[in-house]
Subunit: 355 residues, 2 copies
DNA sequence: GACATAATTGAAAGCGCTTTCTGCGAAAAG
DNA sequence: CTTTTCGCAGAAAGCGCTTTCAATTATGTC
């Protein structure tokens, strides 16, 4: 009767799956032998193995991974903590992480949008027992917070997160170097007044990029006065910041936006004001998101190989899980280099080069 | 001694976290009371609760979610199966799923790139015991496969996957309607020879979009001969297909690409051939990925509200998990409507309207 | 053929947690 | 003052699995 019911509403009822016990009964062996036969651990007579395999097949047995990892203390899953799931930066990042994870047979448990420390804490706790390690991009959270929230329970690799004391392994972008190189490039293009639209406040990336801007300006253009407008990495903030810059008595000749989306918003504002990019104002970004190629004029930007960054972080974590001693407080810096396209004006003579 | 070691290499050693047993000992109560106090289930005297909370705080106790869900049979996690993690379509989709999941306090376990049935099977099995339900976008897998791989073990919602017998709940795009409307729009623009670059073979979306193309053409332009070139949803395939179409004796006046990336590749090829889009050849896409707005000319396309699609699917699944009886074999179709931008030429008179 | 040795197998002990179920003392009812 | 009820705490039974450990059987040696 019950069986009939089950069969007739297969995709409604949450009837419990068949367990190892059922397989054992079906194969007339012990649970232990089923486990051994299925996992290939320990010695099992050929005949028994076949009987187990057949029984498992017949009953359509699927082991409960949750229970499995409770015993083995291995989940083959990596937790990924991101601040939000928005914008191509994160997409590229997770794509890189995913591809590296896949090639190692690891799953990804993602958790996003932790607006405050409480939510982050919650998310971190929810990971315990479900993952073997953590990959965290938490701009507004410091190592101390992590330390006291999960005191070494889980191996963790930080992605461009503030960790002054170098307690955790981290891989980060060479924000300073990239920004420096970009400003230098703008100077080389001949621009003498270069403004900066900064990123979200209280963010390591924001600070380092701004630092690169100031440093390069001081070095390359000692007489120029830095001009900085606050943004927040969004297209909209770029739009508004550009409007603000255009209202200035002395309009800057070039704008270095803290990221590509900001630069894109910036370009819209400039074009709407009836001006040309790069002829009237040059605009450059940071990140090299896929869209940077498609936008017109194609965006000159700092390529950080976002997907590689994610992949490197995962590799780092994965090997740290295998051999905990390798996961020391190493900080890996991935390089960032200028990609020249059309929005900076460097290619003005060689038009049509496209892409 | 051991403790000293632990402290000094906090992020190396994988010392087991503190368990509910430790908290119980520390608070001088039973494990049962700790559980009750922490979860707020069952009655606990105020004094005991406070003692437990204090002990948990002192020991920095984090419950093991894996063990928890083994008992409760609830993981508060949704499994997401995607064919690959590439392109903005998937990004938008997962963004929608993620935002819906977050607002319901659910986690996401993602699994991608299942190239063959074996891998898919593997991935499906790895989900059992880790998730409460499944969201699957598996173009080359049919309901029968799913049925026999996990026979109703998990509630599942299909995303534009072939499910002829309507065994599973599914939410899909109105591919046919969108394609039909787009071709109709092109006819309304005055084009009389309209080609189609199809998508990846053996894909439901591909087939339905092509079907929409044929139907609209037959209806709106009975005398026109359909021209179809095989693509595979990539930018490159669009590029190549366009070259092929341009070599035709009678060059088509408009091209309906099966998706936006194909259309973008298509535009590149046309421009490289020294022709103008839309003046010489109009190009339109399908999906409305974020980049469609930024590409020049801005892409006329069929908006499928990808993120909404993902969110709807998650809602559907979540409510199906709560009340299994609601998760019948309902098929939800999300509408797809034409978004007119510049690449179709409809706006030629009103230039500069942008974005 | 009797013994030591090796190969298999099953019973049982958990992994860390929740949840009955039982028992206790206190409050309410008689 | 006794009996009934009730609120609360702890013991213990698992969830589905792996993994000792001891028991069993098969194999090899003298």
């Amino acid at each position: 009767m019950t069986d009939l019911l089950r069969t007739s509403r297969v995709c409604y009822a949450r009837f419990m799956g068949v367990t190892i016990k059922d397989v054992a009964r079906e194969a007339r062996v012990s649970m232990a032998s089923v486990s051994r036969a299925l996992n290939g651990t320990g010695a099992v007579r050929k005949e028994i193995r076949e009987r187990v395999l057949a029984a498992a097949e017949r009953l359509n047995y699927v082991p409960n991974s949750g229970a499995q990892s409770l015993m083995t203390r291995r989940t083959r899953t990596i937790g990924v903590l991101l601040p939000r799931f928005h914008g191509e930066f994160f997409f590229e990042l997770i794509r890189g992480i995913d591809s590296a994870a896949r090639s190692r047979g690891l799953h990804l448990l993602v958790s996003t949008s932790h607006n405050d420390a409480g939510e982050t804490r919650q998310a971190l706790r929810a990971m315990v027992g479900r993952v073997d390690g953590l990959l965290a991009l938490l701009p507004h959270v410091d190592a101390q917070f992590l330390h006291q929230t999960l005191r070494g329970t889980l191996p963790i690799v930080l992605l461009s997160t503030a960790d002054i004391e170098h307690v955790y392994a981290s891989v980060r972008i060479d924000n300073f170097g990239g920004a420096y190189a970009m400003v230098k490039h703008l100077v080389a293009c001949g621009y003498r007044s270069i403004a900066h639209i900064s990123g979200q406040p209280d963010n390591v990336d924001t600070e380092e990029r701004a630092r690169g801007y100031f440093a390069a300006l001081a070095q390359e253009l000692p007489d120029a006065k830095p001009i900085v407008v606050q943004g927040d990495f969004t297209e909209e903030s770029g739009y508004k910041a550009a409007q603000e810059l255009l209202r200035l008595r002395e309009r800057p000749r070039a704008i270095f936006a803290a990221n590509d989306m900001t630069a894109i918003g910036c370009i819209s504002a400039i074009m709407e004001a009836g001006l040309s990019v790069p002829d009237d104002v040059a605009v450059v970004g940071f990140d090299d998101i896929p869209t940077a190629r498609f936008v017109r004029p194609a965006l000159t930007t700092v390529s950080v190989h976002i997907a590689d960054l994610g992949a490197r972080a995962l590799e780092c974590l994965a090997s740290g899980i295998e051999k905990p001693e390798t996961l020391s407080s190493i900080t890996e810096i991935v390089p960032a280099d200028v990609v020249v396209r059309d929005s900076c004006g460097a290619r003005r003579q060689s038009r049509g080069a496209g892409v």
